[in-house]
């Protein structure tokens, strides 16, 4: 009886595994283009979120800022082996020190973050970090966590209410990803920076500097408050970058960087 039972369990288990593994050989994801479907929905939601953001804020008229961010984007995207055209950089006139990734491969920078940076490499570090959130699908995951079934409904052709979108925008712009995702984004960002010849030390010191500034001057440092444990993260970035020889050339021309800073000063 026991041997019969053992034989039947074995056949059933093997049958299950064989059917499963046999079916796994089919490329369901590729055949039904499931990832493209979700990308299109993400882009749609991303556009809606950016529209909501623009309703309450302004885009700066400072052309140098866009030039700076576009130059950094090209450099970082090429190092990360991503088509720079697929990434949209958005800038919002706001003195809050903040940057975040939105669905639809968008990275939003608040002018406050650029003002708070002493070197363009610091901005590059933040950009590489946010880009890593995009490439590692953290944004889609966060949408699913925060908007959940409302997002699924929208993917099914339904409409997402503006209240849900506002909440989602708030979540994406003012709350961090989970700890594992943050440290993964730091790791990928550090590797991307090194590949592009930018010293990750700038990124590490930016994290440290802002966490110190927060105590001293009490400015609104959203990016740091949403990215806790900055000291430890800075140390981790430094550990990853041990032995790295940075490119001596500046990441953007001094004249462009100085132009951006001068524009901000004149606006103050």
């Amino acid at each position: 009886m026991k041997s019969k039972l053992f034989y039947q369990i074995l056949v059933l288990a093997l049958g299950f595994i064989l059917v499963w593994q046999g079916l796994s050989r089919f490329d369901f994801v590729g055949y039904f283009d499931l990832k493209r479907f979700s990308r299109e929905q993400e882009e749609k939601i991303g556009e809606l979120l950016y529209k909501i953001l623009k309703k309450t804020s302004q885009e700066p008229e400072n052309e140098n800022v866009m030039l700076l961010l576009d130059s950094l984007k090209i450099k970082i995207c090429l190092a990360a082996e991503i088509d720079p055209e697929s990434i949209k950089i958005r800038v919002i006139e706001d003195e809050t020190v903040n940057a975040f990734a939105l669905p639809g491969r968008q990275i939003v920078f608040f002018t406050g973050l650029i003002s708070a940076s002493d070197h363009p490499e610091e901005v590059a570090g933040v950009m590489a970090h946010e880009l890593a959130h995009i490439t590692n699908n953290h944004v889609s995951k966060k949408i699913m966590k925060d908007a959940g079934f409302a997002y699924i409904a929208s993917a099914g052709g339904g409409q997402v209410s503006s209240e849900i979108l506002k909440n989602l925008l708030h979540q994406l712009s003012s709350t961090a990803f989970d700890r594992v995702q943050e440290s993964e984004a730091d790791k990928v960002a550090t590797q991307t920076l090194m590949k592009s010849g930018i010293n990750p030390e700038y990124f590490a010191s930016f994290l440290e500097k802002l966490s110190k500034d927060e105590d001293q001057i009490g400015v609104n440092l959203e990016w740091i408050s949403t990215h806790p444990e900055s000291k430890k993260r800075a140390d981790d970035v430094r550990d990853l970058a041990v032995g790295f020889k940075a490119n001596r050339l500046p990441v953007v021309s001094d004249s462009l960087w100085n132009g951006v800073k001068a524009d901000f000063k004149s606006q103050e």
Partner: protein, 146 residues
């Protein structure tokens, strides 16, 4: 699944057949009601099993077989549901392996449902049916009882 000579000394009466058959019907209904939460199937069948513990050997035997078949499907379904949730809300990606698992789980659920309906109908007529794997397993449990 096989129709075998009944191991029970006395043939079941109509009331027993109905109760034993209900064990399978219960598990089938629970699968439909509890698909998003597979544990509901197991709990429902479990409640029916414990409710019939003091019944005749024929009824208990079939309730036990129904419970075992549910437990196996529960294992398959709960893995699928958690895997799915980890894709939707967690760190996992939608992969061909997951879709293949999902289809396999559906196929096994269908096979189990067909076997359950077949067994319920036969048992209702008083015919003893032993499911593959779960029949010998039930015998093993009952041999310990003796």
């Amino acid at each position: 699944m096989t129709e075998t000579t009944s191991p029970f000394t006395t043939p079941p009466d109509d009331h027993e057949c109905e109760k034993a058959s209900n064990g399978y019907v219960m598990s089938l209904m629970a699968i439909m009601a509890g698909l998003p939460f597979p544990v509901i199937n197991l709990i429902a069948t479990g409640i029916f099993y414990f409710g019939n513990l003091k019944s005749t050997p024929f009824v208990r035997w079939h309730c036990t077989q129904a419970l075992f078949s549910q437990a196996a499907i529960f294992g398959i379904n709960v893995t699928g549901v958690w895997w799915g949730l980890s894709i939707l809300f967690g760190p996992n990606e939608l992969t061909n392996t997951f879709i293949a698992y999902f289809i396999t789980a559906i196929l096994f659920n269908i096979a189990e449902s067909v076997a359950t309906i077949f067994t319920a109908v036969k048992v209702r007529r008083g015919i003893h049916v032993e499911l593959w794997v779960f029949g010998p397993l039930t015998h093993l449990v009952f041999s310990h009882e003796k």
